[in-house]
Symmetry: C2
Subunit: 373 residues, 2 copies
Amino acid sequence: MKDTDVGMANFYSVIPAGGIGSRLWPLSRADAPKFLHDLTGSGQSLLRDTWDRLAPLSGEDRIMVVTGRAHRAAVEHELPRLTDPNVVLESEPKDSTAAIGLAAAILVRREPDVIIGSFAADHVINDQVGFGRAVAQAVAAASAGYIATIGITPTEPAIGFGYIHCGGELDIDGASTAMLVDKFVEKPDLETAQKYLDDHSYLWNGGMFISRADVLLEQIGRSKPELLAGILELAEAWDTPSRGAVVDRIWPVLERIAIDYTVAEPAALQGRLVVIPGRFDWDDVGDFASIAKLHNRGRKANLAILGENARVLSDSSSGVVVSQTKRVISLIGVQDIVVVDTPDALLVTTSANAQRVKAVVDALKLSGRTDVL
Amino acid sequence: MKDTDVGMANFYSVIPAGGIGSRLWPLSRADAPKFLHDLTGSGQSLLRDTWDRLAPLSGEDRIMVVTGRAHRAAVEHELPRLTDPNVVLESEPKDSTAAIGLAAAILVRREPDVIIGSFAADHVINDQVGFGRAVAQAVAAASAGYIATIGITPTEPAIGFGYIHCGGELDIDGASTAMLVDKFVEKPDLETAQKYLDDHSYLWNGGMFISRADVLLEQIGRSKPELLAGILELAEAWDTPSRGAVVDRIWPVLERIAIDYTVAEPAALQGRLVVIPGRFDWDDVGDFASIAKLHNRGRKANLAILGENARVLSDSSSGVVVSQTKRVISLIGVQDIVVVDTPDALLVTTSANAQRVKAVVDALKLSGRTDVL
């Protein structure tokens, strides 16, 4: 039996499209979150890229998107083939356990054997074949009752990603490279990252989770029974006329917690979490340095320029310029520079400081200048 | 006799207000030249600062301004006490020999013994007393038939200024510190600038010239007889109804040449040029690094912020931000940075590259993007 055969008929893609991407301010912001931007020069949004990557695996009619009410129109514009039953709208952000849990609970009522795979709306993967192979193995592992994740084989000592430490190999039908997850580790310093890279038993945590929906919900229930109860009540009402009233009552009081803490880490401790090593390119485009790097992949260093109407005059050979205005942008003698030019806010920093952009967003919040957030 | 007594009754200030200040693009530009900006935080334009510095020396009714037709309204707005007979409008820029020469020729017809002093519209001098003393000595030297300049005693090994090498001391009534000018030297490299500083016989060339008007014109005539003939013909018609017709005929064909080449250098060679060492602060505000330096004079290093409505969020302890928009400007981890934010153009560079800004202006001209110049 080929790796690609087991369980794929039950596979359903879920795309939680929630995060703003504060480290990409002022490009990403509340009304224009990261997933709605073309950050790779592909000509379309990251969300649409994600859709295009998943559609061949689950089918277009089997992709559910969980997003904020405010983004409904934009999401539907980006994904014209997204159907109403596949749209889950959040009245306010409740982090990934609620978002993915609700999708699982809705889908399992419609289709008891459904296997869901949740994939961030704003990550970059170009190798469709490698990605598809890894998903197929993860689905096979999910068919066998495991919760599966896909880890990405590191290509450099990255300090901006979390890592997965792999444990023993498993013998799962259709998931020939599956391994137990020993543990998750936080973003390391450079020295540690280099050790991880040399060790070959560490993978980048891409935040992808593939599982039978019922298994996922059971795991949430072990960690957070009240949260699960809320999710199940929402799901019960979802496909009925009482959806609105139940959402209004329950959604606001759901606990905000990431699925890493309710599902991934507990499941790893219990030996229920497997990882499929992905041998494809991957980036979470976490900051402007990532964007510069993505643009320079395979080329000699140059200045990455984003913006259809960009008018840039520069002698810089590195960094990134994002132009959302029609202004002439002139850079002289600045290397590894990050310039983000939007109608109401300007950011100037360097690649090395790109991770600190979130601090500006926090400072703007504190000082009440939320008009530009 | 005191230094301040000789010839001051004949003194007339001339302010050529012509240069755009390309190294201060995109702040300074064709329709908003450097002299119309407040670059020091004084609360008024450099032109007005210049007027306020000269008025006590020559009197407000004895300050002539030579400027472009396009700047007439702005100049008159800045200088409400400037009278019509003291306004000389250029239909196109013809450099400093034509500008100062025409002023001299107009004034000498009105007042044969007039001594004119020409002072740039866009330099910064705070020490009014020291400046006044130097001007008085220069006027005394001019009374004695010399062409005088004021050199500024260097306080650092500046590489952005030209220098004057002083020759022998002179014995001029009312100009006790006057020396012959040995020669002018171009902007030096740092090593040479340090030698000049240690040598004590070099002064910064502040581009100030003080002379009897008839002596100045004679000197122009020795270098450029055709140019002088044009200037005299213009001056003859100036206070008559035929001014317009004569200007239209002659101004366009006048040679463009700086007064340094027609007057200062030849006069130095002929032993007719004297220099008064000025012991006052002076800066030509030639680039954004100068602005940053001026703002930090006497304070510990900080980020200079220009712009009444500036909304800057920064952890930078050095450099300069010029804000002409209402945008939030956020700087993270960039030092000695220069950010100039205007409605149609943005400049990002560093203090060390500030002199290279003119290259951008040249590139914009070449590429036809003159809308932002």
